[in-house]
Symmetry: C2
Subunit: 141 residues, 2 copies
DNA sequence: ATTGACCTTACCACAATGGGAGGGTGGTAT
DNA sequence: ATACCACCCTCCCATTGTGGTAAGGTCAAT
């Protein structure tokens, strides 16, 4: 069993030492072994978990999702349906966020296209941000 | 000049009273009039700015961008090029984020499609998150 | 014995938003 | 008058994921 320091674990997994400690503090990973001088030392199993977390993060999973995924990974009796359900929900969130961003981008592109972008002050972008009318909209009369 | 309370301003602009106070605290909007009892009262001009902020926020602009956009809106001698530059930079950021999300979604969809999602434990999603090998990658020998 | 590279904990910060505590104000209903 | 309710106020804390910084301990080599 190889043991590495936190800086080495960071270099191997691509997760900053700062974040590794943070993952430990929120209970996402188990507390690693400590040498007499209180230095953390990570085992292969620890490194596996960190790598798992790294890949999950790269796919945009939240810590809460990662917690569940790690737990399922460890559970030999898991059903793949549980994993898939987490993934599908996350996919839906990703698609929703991407669609929202794309909608903003589309709107802005249309506005930017109609903005001449020279020294003159008139600009359809600002006009679009300008509220058209502030009437006394009594929502509660 | 109509003056409305913060709750009315919130109803009109769709920005929570909480956020309106926050915008004031960070200097995004000017401090509104106060009545003797320290209650905030918003003028049409204040409401305009809040509406402007609301629309900018809906397009995903950061507070810093909004600060500049508002300042340009007020500046009669602005050049539309300045506004367009902010918009184009923001569009690039939006597209980049959307592309990143879409890439995650694509990867996950591929994995989810190959996961049978039943009671059996084997799952390509978990396999993808599983680091393939933890060799002793001595980055610093 | 000093330097420099590592490690430790413990704070603070970000963007944008919400929640809640604890207290003041004002109008209305009894 | 008094109780009640709706509104307002200021503070503080939480979120998510990441980074910074400070102040100190440890260790190997010079």
């Amino acid at each position: 069993m190889t043991l590495v320091t936190i800086a080495q674990a960071s270099a191997i997994t691509g997760i900053s030492a700062k974040m590794i400690r943070h993952y430990e503090s929120i209970g996402l990973i188990a507390a690693p072994l400590r040498t007499e001088n209180r230095y953390r030392h990570y085992s292969d199993s620890d490194l596996h978990d960190l790598g798992f977390i790294r890949r999950s993060r790269d796919l945009g999973f939240s810590f809460e999702d990662i917690r569940q995924l790690l737990s399922l990974w460890r559970d030999r009796g898991r059903s793949s349906a549980e994993v898939k359900a987490i993934a599908l929900r996350h996919i839906a969130e990703l698609d929703q966020k991407a669609a929202a961003l794309a909608a903003m981008s589309r709107t802005l592109k249309r506005l930017a296209a109609s903005c001449h972008g020279d020294d003159r002050p008139d600009c359809p972008i600002l006009e679009a941000l300008d509220p058209p009318f502030i009437t006394e909209t009594h929502t509660n009369p």
